[in-house]
C-alpha cells in the first residue's frame, strides 16, 4: 500500500499547505459545457422519457409510471436477467483468465518487446469492427464448418455439434474473444505499476500464493481490475452484433428487445430499460469512485 498512500498524502499535504488553487482554463470550461450538451443531456432526457406517457401518436408530456410497470412484461424481465447473467459470467471468465495472464506478462516477462507486442496484439482488434471479427464464426461453427469437420476427422465426435451456433453457448463463444483485451489491458497496467519488492517481500516472509494474491496483488491492482470489469461489462450489456450473428434470433438479449421497441416507437419503455442498464453501470462507477485505491490511482496518474 506504500506507494498509494504516499500518493494520497502528497495530495493532502499540497491542499493543506495552501498551494494556490488554479482556476480551470477556458478550454476546460468550454469542453465541460459542450460535453454536458452532447452526452449528459441525452441521458437525462432518457430518464425523463421513462416517466412519460406513451400515446398513440408518440410521446405525451404527462407523468406516468406505466413504462416502469411494463418493464418485465412480455418476457422482458427474463431477457433482462438473461442478459445480465451472460454479461456477468463472461466478465468473470475474462477476469479469471486475464489476471494470471497479465501477471505473467507484467511481472515475469522482462522483455519490453514481448510486452509491447502482446499488448499490440490484444488492443489492436479493439479498433476493428466487431462485425468483421464475428461474422466468420458463422462459417467456422456451422455443422460442416471447420470445428465440426475437424473434430470429426480426428474422431472425437460422430455427427456435428449443432449447439455451436444459435444457442447460448455460441453467444459465449462469440463474446469471449472480443472482450478479452478490455479486461486484460487495465489489469496489466496496474500490475506493471506494483513495485517488485512487495512481491519479493511477500515470498520472503513465507507468504503463500493466496497471500500474495489476496494481500498484495488484488488490493494494489484494484483500480485496474475495477476498470477492467466496467470496460468489459458495459459493452457486453449493449452488444447486438454477437447476439445478432451467432444468436440467430434464438437467444433474445436486451439489445434485441431495445431494437424491436425502438423500431415500434415504444420510446418510454426503451427509456426505462436504458435507465436500468445505465443505472447498474452507474452504481458500479460510484463504488469505483469512492474506493480509496482508485482515488490514489488517479493521484498517481497526475505524476
Amino acid at each position: 500500500m506504500g506507494a498509494l498512500q504516499v500518493g494520497v498524502s502528497t495530495a493532502e499535504t499540497q491542499r493543506g499547505a495552501g498551494v494556490k488553487i488554479r482556476r480551470p482554463a477556458i478550454p476546460i470550461v468550454i469542453f465541460t459545457v459542450f460535453w454536458a450538451a452532447l452526452v449528459v443531456t441525452p441521458l437525462v432526457l432518457t430518464l425523463i422519457y421513462s416517466f412519460l406517457r406513451q400515446g398513440e401518436l408518440g410521446i405525451e408530456w404527462h407523468f406516468s409510471t406505466s413504462a416502469w410497470s411494463g418493464l418485465t412484461a412480455f418476457g422482458r424481465g427474463a431477457t433482462l436477467v438473461r442478459t445480465f447473467r451472460i454479461a456477468i459470467t463472461v466478465t468473470l471468465i475474462e477476469f479469471v483468465v486475464a489476471f494470471p495472464a497479465a501477471y505473467w506478462l507484467a511481472k515475469r516477462v522482462r522483455s519490453t518487446a514481448l510486452n509491447v507486442g502482446v499488448l499490440a496484439l490484444l488492443t489492436a482488434p479493439f479498433f476493428l469492427s466487431e462485425d468483421s471479427r464475428t461474422v466468420v464464426w458463422t462459417s467456422v461453427y456451422s455443422n460442416d464448418g471447420l470445428v465440426n469437420s475437424g473434430l470429426e476427422k480426428i474422431g472425437l465426435i460422430h455427427g456435428p455439434i449443432s449447439s455451436l451456433l444459435f444457442t447460448e453457448t455460441s453467444i459465449y463463444l462469440g463474446l469471449l474473444p472480443i472482450y478479452f483485451g478490455t479486461m486484460f489491458f487495465p489489469i496489466w497496467m496496474s500490475l506493471v505499476l506494483i513495485d517488485d519488492e512487495y512481491i519479493e517481500a511477500t515470498r520472503d516472509l513465507g507468504g503463500s500464493y493466496f497471500d500474495l494474491v489476496k494481500d498484495v496483488l488484488l488490493p494494489l491492482a484494484a483500480p485496474g481490475i475495477i476498470a477492467g470489469f466496467i470496460f468489459t461489462l458495459v459493452p457486453i450489456l449493449g452488444d447486438n452484433v454477437v447476439s445478432g450473428l451467432l444468436g440467430g434470433g434464438q437467444v433474445v438479449l436486451m439489445s434485441d428487445t431495445v431494437q424491436s421497441l425502438v423500431y415500434n416507437f415504444q420510446y418510454t419503455e426503451t427509456a426505462a430499460i436504458s435507465i436500468v442498464i445505465t443505472g447498474v453501470v452507474a452504481v458500479l462507477l460510484l463504488v469505483l469512485m469512492r474506493s480509496r485505491a482508485l482515488r490514489a490511482g488517479f493521484v498517481d496518474l497526475r505524476r
Binding site: P27, I28, L45, S142, V281, L301
Partner: protein
Amino acid sequence: MSSQPAVVSALVQPSGIRGRLSRASSAFEWIATRLGPILLFAFIFWIWFPIVDLALMSINKEPFRGIPNGSLTSGWYRSLFSAMGVTSAVRTSALIALVIGVLVAAISFTVARKFGTVRHRGVFLVYVLLPVFVPGLVFGFAVLIYSAQLGISLGNTTVAAVHLAWALPFGFLAMLIATSRLDLRLLEAAADLGATRWQVFRDIEFPLLRPGLVSALLFGFLLSFNELVRSIFVSGQTVTLPLYMWAQNSSHTSTVPLVYALETLIMLGSLALIGVAYWLLFRGASVSRLGRNV
C-alpha cells in the same frame, strides 16, 4: 511445541516451513509461469483466428465452411466494386471518420494541454470518459430522442455526434500520454530565454505533443470508421460502411463473401493505421514507463 510462537517453531523446524513454502511456491510458479502464458496465447490465437480466417476466406472460392482450401479466387474482390451501395458507403464513412478524426484531435489537444489546471482531475477524467460507461445502444437511443426534441433530422449530423462522443475519450487518453511525458521545464526554459508564448508553443510544445495529436486523429478516424452500435438508431438515410455490412451479414444471403472481401480490406487498412498510431505513441518506451504513462 505448539505453545511456541510461529517464528520460533520455524527456526526449530526449518524443514517444515520450507516445505510449506516450497509447496505454495511451486503451485504459484506453475500458475505464474505456465498457466498464465498458456491462457494468454490461447486467447491471442482465439482473437486473431477469425481475423486471419476472414482474410483467407475472402480469396477462397467456397468460403462458407471457414476452411481454407486450394481453390483461390479474386472474384469476390472484383465483384465488390460493382456491388450496389459499397462505394457510396465507403465514401460516407470515410468522410465522417475524417471529420471525427480532426475534431477528436483538435478537442483532445486543446483540453489535454490544460488538464493540469483542473482541480479534481479524477472526476474530470471520468466525465470525459462518460460515453465509455454508457452501453452503445442506450446512447444511440438517447441521442435519437434528443434530436427529436431539438428538431434535428437524423442523418450525417446525428451519426457524427454519436461518433464524436464515442471516439473522443480514447483520443483524449492518447493525448494525456503525450502531455504527461511533456517536460514542463523545457517550456519554462524557452520562456526564460526570451521566447514569446507563441514561439514556445510552435517550437517546443507542439512538436513534443505531435505524436499524441496524430494518434488521437488516427484513433478518432478508426473508431468512427468502424462504429456500428451507436449509429443504428440515429442513421436516418445515412448508410455508413459498418451499417451496410451489418445489413448484409444479418440477411444471411449469398453476398456474404463480398462482405468478407470488404471487411478484409477495411481491416488491413485499419491495422496499418493502428500500427502507425502505436509506433508514434510508444516508440522507445520501456515497460515501466509505458505503465506509468498510460
